[in-house]
């Protein structure tokens, strides 16, 4: 794609080198981690140590190179006509424009490849049956695993009596919690009939009874060595076990079908032993912890009760009683203070006195009011006095009235010569005739 874009955009011819380099980039990028199966042909082990061959099927062929370092690790002798699976990458030899597989690993197709396929087939079958559950992270384990007892006292071990596994487990168990009984059911763990022996042993220990947990396993080995633990009878026997089963097959990296149907997978037999038989000191610590908590809980409780008792005795009860008494006392005294109940006559006297007092105050107020009115009257009278014309006349003034109309003359123009006027003095009246006006 990159190449095409390049050509159409630039519209320029590539050199052969450029083209081959471009092809090399694309191929090496796309096929840098491949696994391919086919038949070997044109096989040649060069004196340089490199291995050259072709890999073919019915319709197609591809060249293959395996360099010295890689082919030294081969576990079989390759030959023409052999079906193999190779792992490697595709590379382009720019000089000749040829592409080929650079293999870093090769195995017989009917060896590991077939075993892997069988493994996957059984696993998927048991998943479909619901014995194995595929986990969200892609791993597999028993569909409904049971808990492994923390302190099993009777442990059944199904393994070879002469293998490394039993040695490892017994070494660990002997250093740990002593109160256990280990019963070994010796079985063949590899080769013809091993699977059936293991499966029978699981069933046998179940019917023999008394076991808290079973460990089924063996030490490390090749996939062929471990194969019995990938066989269906073993898987079904483990799944059917009423006693919880721990699988302990090979090393940490080895996964078997037995691991997927056991209640717990131990990475190694030693790990299985450590899981089921606790360290004596660890258990002692657990017991001590419980002892401490037990005592603390009890002393905490007695302390609580003591506190409650003392509160009731000293503070609580006494205070409650005192408070009640106090309340009643107060109520009684307030009742006592109420004179309606205690001294009614006195109250009546008092009310009477108050009434008298009110009367007196009313009278006083009335008198005061009257005095006020009297003074107002005197003042008004004196004012009236001032208005009396006679008072003015007494000071030497006189009033002139028209004799005929009786109207008080305030203006000389109201008079003419010959008019008769009456002059009123403080004492007496005189009549006069106007002789002149000005």
């Amino acid at each position: 794609m990159l190449l095409l874009t390049h050509m159409t955009e630039i519209q320029k011819a590539l050199t052969v080198t450029e083209l081959n380099r471009g092809i090399k980039d694309v191929l090496t990028d796309e096929f840098d981690d491949i696994k391919v199966g086919g038949e070997l042909s044109n096989f040649l082990l060069h004196s340089s140590g490199h291995l050259y061959a072709s890999l073919k099927d019915e319709n197609s062929v591809i060249k293959l190179v395996m360099f010295k370092g890689a082919n030294l690790k081969l576990k079989f002798k390759p030959a023409n006509g052999m079906n193999v699976v190779v792992h490697g990458r595709v590379d382009v030899y720019e000089k000749s424009g040829q592409y080929q597989i650079i293999a870093d690993y090769m195995e017989e197709a009917d060896g590991r490849g077939i075993l892997q396929k069988k493994f996957e087939e059984l696993r998927d079958k048991l998943v479909a049956e619901g014995l194995i559950a595929k986990q969200s992270n892609g791993t597999h384990r028993k569909a409904n695993p049971r808990p492994i007892p923390s302190y099993p006292e009777k442990i059944g071990i199904i393994t070879s009596p002469t293998g490394a596994a039993i040695q490892d487990m017994l070494n660990i168990i002997s250093r740990r919690f002593s109160n256990v009984t280990v019963v070994l059911d010796p079985v063949k763990v590899q080769g013809e009939g091993a699977a059936e022996e293991i499966a029978d042993a699981v069933a046998r220990l179940n019917s023999f009874g008394g076991f808290d947990v079973l460990i089924v396993g063996r030490g490390g080995g090749s996939i062929e060595d471990l194969w019995a633990f990938n066989e269906e009878p073993v898987a079904r026997a483990i799944y059917a076990s009423k006693v919880p089963v721990i699988s302990a097959v090979g090393h940490e990296i080895d996964f078997t079908i037995a691991d997927f149907v056991a209640d717990l997978r131990a990475p190694t037999p030693s790990a299985a032993a450590e899981l089921v038989v606790k360290d004596k000191n660890d258990i002692a610590a657990v017991l001590e912890g419980n002892w401490a908590r037990l005592n603390q809980a009890l002393s905490g409780m007695t302390e609580k009760y003591r506190e409650r008792l003392s509160w009731l005795g000293k503070t609580g009860l006494a205070a409650a009683l005192k408070k009640t008494v106090e309340v009643y006392k107060e109520r009684i005294s307030s009742l006592r203070k109420n004179r309606v109940l205690s001294r009614p006559a006195e109250l009546i006297d008092e009310l009477r006195q108050e009434l008298d007092d009110l009367e007196q105050r009313e009278e006083k107020a009335y008198r005061h009011f009257m005095e006020l009115k009297r003074r107002e009257l005197i003042l008004a009278a004196s004012r009236l006095e001032g208005l009396n014309p006679l008072k003015i006349l007494e000071r030497g003034y006189s009033v002139t009235l028209n004799k005929l109309s009786g109207v008080i003359i305030k203006n000389a123009e109201d008079l003419k010569k010959g008019d008769t006027v009456e002059l009123r003095f403080a004492k007496g009246i005189a009549v006069a005739e106007i002789t002149e006006t000005k």
């Binding site: 923390s150 293998g163 019963v183 002892w291």
Partner: protein, 79 residues
């Protein structure tokens, strides 16, 4: 010991008693009773822990592969 209780069951019982006591949900009389029981279980567990009764046995089978019993397992010298 008349009652054969397993270590694991005894420890579980003990832990339950401790939890109950810690919760303070039971009365004083009941607490004392539980405490006594707890102490008994603790003693039992401790005895079991100290008991050097480790046994390594091997299952014996008849011709048909049926278990017949157990016998002492003698560690093989080499694997």
């Amino acid at each position: 010991m008349p009652e054969e209780i397993k270590f694991e069951d005894a420890l579980k019982k003990l832990e339950k008693i401790v939890e109950t006591l810690e919760s303070g949900d039971v009365g004083l009389d009941e607490s004392l009773k539980r405490y006594e029981e707890g102490v008994k279980l603790l003693r039992l567990c401790t005895v079991k822990l100290e008991e050097a009764e480790k046994k390594i046995e091997v299952l014996t089978k008849d011709k048909n592969g049926k278990a017949t019993g157990t016998k002492e397992f003698n560690k093989p010298d080499s694997k």
